[in-house]
């Protein structure tokens, strides 16, 4: 039975339970809802919750656990002799799964009979061709051990699914029964439902937290694995980045960190003054109509996907800079991909980020502060310079730090605008690359996840993660400190 049907059945049981629970509660109160402890819907919800939650939990756990069990059984059926040189058990198992799926689909289409799928023998009939004819993708010739395993795989899965459906429906029914038994006019259904809602919210929050923990853990384990294969002193100390998948690579992070830092610096030099001045203009000088037009316009910039900024860097900023600083101009710039190209594009990307945060912060400075300054005969710009900006400064610093961590994490603009050469240089007209861009290039293509050249991506990711985490924590600390100021 497909899972979707199972869910529908459980929900239907829950709906029935809801109505039954309500009715039963009303009956127990003699038809007068004022004698009930809770509103009638709470009794219904209680029954419905008891039907759905345990059943669904069981189903999820079962769906997660079943493949492990099946894999274990099937794996035992494959003799070592069936594993070809250069292959691995994992690859053969993947083939088994593909074959089993192929058989399933072919049966569903009617291209082969269930009987055939169950009993066919690869040494007598050409199963592979028949599956291919049915439009199924099976890569190599299916051998007898693989076919046997695939057939077993199908059988175990089918019985597993059947048992699961039965058990889940049973649990749902028991849940309804349990809920109905509890239902009488003194039962505190409202409190139970309240608690369940809280549990639901806690579950949602823990999923979010656990995912973060999971991401960090996967980074950590792979990073540790990397440092086992490659010395940390080289990673942090070496000045060259020269990966080669054949071995003997030099994987020094410093040139990448320098590229990240340099490009972010150029971006911030562009974004901070422009964004800040725009924010001051919008919040202090602009008239209502100008503000209501200009602010959304600026925020549109924030909605543009970064790949589009990358294209802009590649197609507009690069050629423009090249025509001024290139061989035909001052001759400083060799190609259009350079730190300055990517930095400018990234700066433009960050302007709305800085400006809209700063604008909020400047607006949060109380009007009484401005009144106090104007009341002493200060002009607008004196007031901004000496009262508003100092009051808003911690918040603005926070905004800049958040913008920095975005700049550090940016990838597409760098890939398209700054090139791929890892280099330690002070010249902004040279091509350079960043940590993020190198993570992409180390993991694209057919990479072997056991080599230091691929695993280095995790060490790079970890470095980046720690850097941005530190910046964000610092930024939040500063923003929070600022919030307390006017109380």
């Amino acid at each position: 039975m497909p899972v979707i049907w199972l869910i529908v059945i459980v929900l239907a049981l829950a709906a029935a339970g809801f109505i039954l629970g309500r009715t039963r509660a009303m009956q127990s109160a003699g038809g007068d809802s004022r004698h009930l402890h809770s509103l009638p819907t709470y009794y219904g919800s209680n029954v419905a919750l008891k039907a759905v939650v345990p059943a669904m939990l069981l189903m999820v756990v079962w769906l997660v656990a079943q493949p492990f069990y099946v894999n274990g059984v099937v794996s035992g059926m494959i003799p070592d002799s069936a594993i070809a040189d250069g292959s691995s058990r994992g690859l053969v198992l993947a083939e088994v799964r593909r074959a089993a799926d192929g058989l399933d689909n072919a049966v569903a289409q009617g291209a082969i009979s269930e009987e055939f799928a169950r009993n066919a023998r690869a040494d007598f009939t050409d199963v592979t061709t028949r599956l291919k004819e049915a439009g199924q993708i099976v890569t190599t010739q299916i051998t007898q051990p693989v076919l046997r395993a695939a057939q077993e795989y199908r059988v175990i899965n089918a019985t597993g699914n059947m048992i699961m459906s039965g058990v889940v429906i049973l649990v749902a029914l028991l849940g309804v029964f349990w809920g109905l038994r509890e239902t009488n006019k003194d039962f505190r259904a409202r409190n139970v439902v309240e608690k369940s809602v809280m549990a639901l919210l806690i579950a949602a929050a823990s999923i979010a937290v656990l995912t973060t923990v999971g991401i960090v853990l996967s980074l950590i384990f792979n990073t540790i694995e990397f440092f086992r294969l490659y010395p940390a002193s080289e990673f942090f100390g070496s000045l060259t980045w020269a990966p080669s998948f054949g071995g003997g690579s030099e994987l020094g992070v410093l040139p990448l960190l320098w590229g990240t830092f340099y490009i972010s610096l150029v971006a911030l030099i562009v974004a901070v003054p422009i964004g800040l001045f725009a924010a001051v203009y919008l919040s202090e000088y602009a008239s209502k109509p100008v503000r209501s037009f200009a602010k959304p316009m600026l925020e549109v910039l924030a909605g543009i996907p970064t790949i589009v900024y990358g294209l802009f860097a590649l197609l507009t900023i690069g050629p423009m800079l090249l025509s001024v600083f290139g061989p035909d101009g001052t001759g400083w710039m060799g190609g259009q991909r350079a730190v300055i190209t990517a930095g400018l594009a990234m700066g433009i990307m960050l302007i709305p980020f800085v400006s809209s945060l700063s604008d909020d912060i400047i607006n949060a400075v109380p009007q009484a502060m401005r009144d106090g300054s104007y009341g002493l005969g200060a002009t607008k710009s004196e007031t901004i310079k000496q009262v508003i900006l100092p009051a808003a400064l911690p918040g603005i610093v926070g905004a800049v730090l958040l913008a920095t961590s975005r700049a550090i994490g940016e990838t597409m603009i760098v890939v398209l605008g700054a090139g791929a050469a890892a280099r330690l240089s002070l010249n902004p007209f040279e091509a350079m690359t960043t940590v993020t861009a190198k993570i992409v290039s180390q993991l694209t293509g057919d990479s072997d996840f056991a080599s230091p050249e691929a695993l280095v991506a995790f060490a790079l990711g970890m470095t980046l993660f720690i850097m941005t985490l530190g910046l964000n924590v610092f930024a939040l600390y500063i923003v929070r400190k600022y919030r307390e100021q006017y109380d």
Partner: protein
């Protein structure tokens, strides 16, 4: 409504510092000040009294054009200081506000040190020639604001860290540090204890030697103690304006009498 002969007589005694004629103030469509005529004399303390929401603060803010900072606010009529129309296009509101200082209803110290709060005005207007000069202005202002003893050891501490009453006295000191000719005070003592209140009242009395002071207050006793002239506002109208003694002992309008005896409020 307000009897003209009364003021004519006062003109003989003191110069008129501020003269308002047919002043109307609108907040959007709300008519907050209706047709107010009022002459405020030099070297005099004038008290504005009236029930909450009657427009005292609004009228006060017209006198140094602080209402300019409120988008929806519109002021009509003539207000002149020393015979000069302050709503004239050629008048710079910034210069005007240096001349007409203000203490707000709610204390609003800047998030700077106590010293910098006081030094703010003198620095902007270039009143101090040297650091020593500035130190002297700061000390003098804090003393006159009756807060010197409490803060003299922590001039570098933030002004926002003071108590509400201390903040209000800091704001008073800040306002007098720029040496304004007219000082507008909007309920300066509403957050102060009796001792600080009497110190501020002494200060007001002292300021009267050189300046013209306008004070908004909800305390009848305070109005009677510090002011020579009293104006009673009600629902945006200036109901009665005259010598403080006369207003409190022998008011002409029945509304004034009801208010000061506590029947409308």
């Amino acid at each position: 409504m307000y009897d003209a002969p009364h003021t004519e007589r006062d003109v003989d005694q003191q110069d008129i510092k501020i003269s308002a004629r047919k002043v109307q103030v609108y907040y959007g469509t709300t008519h907050a000040i209706k047709d107010v005529d009022c002459d405020i004399e030099d070297k005099t303390v004038t008290a504005f009294i009236g029930p909450s929401g009657c427009g005292k603060s609004t009228f006060l803010r017209c006198l140094n054009r602080m209402n300019d900072t409120i988008d929806v606010c519109r002021v009509e009529g003539d207000i002149s200081i020393d015979g000069e129309d302050i709503y004239d296009k050629r008048v710079d509101p910034v210069q005007l506000r240096a001349k007409v200082g203000m203490v707000f209803q709610k204390p609003n110290p800047f998030p700077k040190s106590i010293y910098d709060n006081i030094a703010y005005g003198p620095r902007i207007h270039g009143l101090a020639k040297s650091k020593a000069d500035l130190d002297e202005i700061v000390e003098k202002s804090l003393r006159r604001g009756a807060i010197w003893d409490e803060v003299k050891d922590r001039l570098d501490a933030p002004g926002t860290g003071l108590s509400g009453g201390q903040q209000q006295r800091l704001c008073i000191a800040r306002a007098i540090a720029t040496e304004p000719e007219v000082l507008l005070m909007d309920e300066p003592c509403s957050a102060l204890d009796p001792i600080a209140t009497s110190q501020v009242e002494e200060l007001i009395d002292e300021l009267r030697q050189d300046y013209s002071v306008v004070i908004v207050t909800h305390s009848m006793q305070q109005a009677a103690r510090v002011s020579q002239k009293t104006a009673f506002f009600h629902l945006g109208n200036l109901v009665e304006f005259g010598d403080t003694g006369k207003i409190f002992t022998n008011p002409v309008d029945s509304r004034t009498e009801s208010y000061i005896t506590g029947r409308i409020g």
